[in-house]
């Protein structure tokens, strides 16, 4: 560095800055940490997805002929726990959050780079502990409901401790992002010029910070229940099993917004680029993220309408639940308004974004059925819930995740993937997903409960249809994965800004240099000024 100033300005992509395994394990570069998360969460997504295919395969016929009911319990516990704790909670927030936040706000890195890699190692540590417990195996489902979790012979203590460590990782990542967004914005990058993904990440980080400690203490209490004989959740000792559900959902309901809000942020970034129009209702979208975060703390008991809470409480929580629809609908309407009269280009990221709007809307609207007290009594714990949940989580979060992958892939890895193959994969995923999960709404309405390895003969046609759909979905995801991995090796070199975005991360080379910006940029406008003559 002392030699001369010219040497500093030679462009070295961050991927080639340092090489070797150790440089990855000890890196403090947010872009590399983002890749570590991306690879980890994608790996677990594929594993848990494969487990889901096994479960669907068992459900092809009414009898338990492929696996026994007990193995089926183990499988859905594995599927749920891996998807929730290893993939979807850290998923978009930690992988794309890490990669994008400093680049989008014009910063060289996050506020606490060492804490950042520390969070990743906590994530890996928690993953190992939890996986170990899950494979023993575990059979509580991912929700650890008492009294079963307090009495089962499986290793709930180890399992909850693993989740506790993962929670710590999540808290520290959220803390890092909040401080980064407050303190590291480039000159001129005012709050109302921030890309909407940043607003979404900020709202997510608040949830991580405020909700995760509560699940932490809940899990500690469950551990104490099993080891010290503490009786908070045990009616025989004067405790209350429903208290566990209250505590658990106080975190876990906000947690579903930890899962979905970053995906909403992704959609807000993709749509204006491919509609070539400024985002419609910028402030409404930005503040609706905070609105969702706020309301998410007030709705937890809608998971417990059949758990024996009072009618007054249930009615209040039902009304509060409907409130979530308002900020959510604000987003959907503003995205749609952005599309109106836009010059829409249907490239793969945009297809995923449109898929998100379509599927997430179905997921959101069916959520209102479940929020309505009378309907919920009938639909609770049926396949309707399974279908709703997957429309929000796959139709929403995973669509957003895939969209983000295709959108920022050229920037992150400096390569272009095969667009035609990407579109074919998208089509299979979209069709396969709907064939898998749409029949489950009908199954639920007809009364088929979830979490059973067997079912009555009358549900055979819908159940089999759902299983066939899962095969199409599986093939689609496989093609997408192969396409993206192949592009790493034989993809064409990506230009700096293949999609013509105005956001800051596209104004540096692909992949970005280690230090992101040679000079910290001075921001003079928001990032959504599309369609104007420059």
């Amino acid at each position: 560095m002392a030699n001369n100033t010219i040497a500093e300005h030679v462009y070295v992509p961050f991927l080639e800055e340092k090489k070797g395994i150790l440089s990855w394990l000890t890196t403090t570069d947010h872009k590399k940490i983002g890749i570590l998360y991306l690879v980890s969460v994608s790996f677990f997504f594929l594993i848990a997805g494969t487990i889901a295919l096994l479960m669907r395969f068992e459900l092809l016929t009414p009898e338990a002929d492929f696996v026994s009911p007990h193995v089926y319990n183990v499988l859905f516990t594995l599927h749920g726990s891996i998807m929730v704790f290893f993939f979807i909670v850290p998923g978009l927030a930690a992988s794309f959050g890490n990669f994008l936040i400093p680049l989008m706000i014009g910063a060289p890195d996050v506020a606490f780079p060492k804490l950042n890699i520390g969070s990743y190692w906590l994530y890996i540590l928690g993953t190992i502990i939890l996986l170990f417990a899950l494979l023993k195996p575990a059979d509580t489902g991912w929700t650890f409901y008492t009294p079963y979790s307090a009495n089962t012979d499986t290793d709930v203590v180890l399992m909850t401790f693993g989740v506790f460590v993962l929670g710590f990782s999540s808290i520290l990542t959220g803390l890092n992002f909040i401080v980064t967004i407050h303190k590291m914005r480039a000159p001129g990058m005012t709050w109302h010029r921030l890309p909407l993904f940043i607003w979404a990440s900020y709202a997510t980080a608040i949830l991580q910070l405020l909700a995760t400690p509560v699940v932490g203490i809940t899990l500690l209490l469950l551990i104490a229940e099993r080891t010290l004989g503490v009786g908070f959740f045990d009616p025989a000792k004067g405790g209350d099993p429903v208290l566990f559900q209250n505590f658990f959902w106080f975190y876990s309901h906000p947690a579903v917004y930890i899962m979905i809000i970053p995906a909403m942020g992704v959609i807000s970034e993709i749509i204006p680029v491919f509609a070539r129009k400024p985002i419609f209702g910028y402030k409404a979208i930005a503040y609706s993220s905070l609105g969702i975060a706020f309301i998410s703390f007030l709705v937890w008991a809608h998971h417990m309408f059949t758990s024996g809470i009072s009618e007054v409480a249930a009615t209040i929580f039902s009304f509060l639940t409907f409130l979530v629809a308002i900020p959510t609908a604000i987003k959907v309407f503003n995205w749609t308004a952005t599309l109106y009269k836009g010059s829409i280009q249907l490239q793969s990221p945009m297809l995923y974004a449109l898929g998100f709007i379509f599927l997430f809307t179905i997921g959101g609207l069916t959520g209102l059925f479940l929020g309505a007290l009378a309907a919920d009594i009938h639909l609770h714990d049926t396949y309707f819930v399974v279908a709703h949940m997957h429309y929000v989580m796959i139709g929403g979060t995973v669509m957003g995740f895939f969209g983000a992958l295709h959108f920022w892939y050229p920037k992150w890895f400096g390569k272009m993937f095969n667009e035609t193959v990407a579109k074919v994969a998208w089509f299979l995923i979209f069709v396969g997903f709907n064939v898998t999960f749409f029949p489950q709404f009908f199954l639920g309405v007809e009364g088929m409960p979830r979490r059973y390895a067997t079912y009555p003969q009358e549900f055979k046609s819908l159940m089999s249809l759902s299983t066939y759909g899962s095969w199409i979905l599986g093939v689609g995801i496989l093609i997408m994965t192969v396409n993206l991995i192949a592009a790493l090796f034989n993809g064409e070199k990506a230009p700096q800004n293949p999609y013509g975005s105005l956001s800051l991360e596209w104004q540096v080379p692909s992949p970005p240099p280690h230090e992101n910006f040679h000079e910290i940029p001075h921001v003079t406008d928001w990032t959504y000024g599309y369609g104007k003559k420059s």
Partner: protein, 196 residues
């Protein structure tokens, strides 16, 4: 702080950045204890007689002594932080040492208290009240130990001359953590020992 990127943060900015991070972390600690406080509120309203009767088993004198010890240690901590901001490394070291010793004294009193409970066959599974007592004070004790570890590190670094009037952020952050530990106890003491 990582400075490998070449864009060095200016010291004032780095200071306020670290402080914001610490305050947010303290917020998560409040939420962690908040869950237990919520459990306390719920069970107290459910079993007021149990709380009234069983809180008498607790040793108020020892609780009061520990409260005094922690409040005193917060004072020495605050003096230590002010001292390092004025570059008085020796005074800071002494104050940190006193604070750490207070932490150990607190732990010692707590040890005697726990021992007395066990000898009367009172354990965490005795009743909901004692479940709460042991969980709340136990989790708090864990934080006291973490605080002692942090302040001991600060003591060693201060004695090595790492801090001065220009750079004292870690000492301040350690101090904030210690004040939180103190603050939580100030709520625990009346809730468990005094409220009848």
């Amino acid at each position: 702080m990582d400075h490998s990127h070449g864009h060095q943060m200016d010291p004032g900015e780095a200071y306020s950045t670290s402080k914001l991070g610490m305050w947010l972390f303290l917020g998560t600690e409040i939420m962690l204890f908040g869950g237990l406080f919520a459990a306390y509120a719920i069970f107290r309203s459910k079993y007021p007689e149990m709380f009234l009767e069983q809180h008498r088993e607790l040793n108020r004198e020892m609780g009061a002594i520990n409260t005094c010890i922690l409040i005193f240690s917060s004072m020495t901590m605050a003096i230590g932080v002010t001292a390092i901001q004025r570059g008085k490394q020796k005074l800071t070291s002494i104050m940190l040492l006193i604070t750490i010793l207070c932490g150990f004294a607190f732990a010692g009193v707590k040890y005697v208290e726990y021992g007395a409970k066990f000898s009367h066959h009172i354990y965490p599974d005795t009743s909901i009240f004692f479940s709460l007592y042991f969980m709340l004070t136990g989790l708090h004790m864990l934080h006291v130990f973490i605080g002692i570890a942090i302040l001991s590190t600060m003591l060693v670094l201060t004695m090595k001359g790492k801090f001065n009037q220009k750079y004292s952020t870690p000492v301040e952050l350690g101090g904030l953590y210690w004040h939180l530990v103190d603050l939580i106890w100030i709520y625990l003491f009346p809730l468990l020992y005094l409220i009848g």
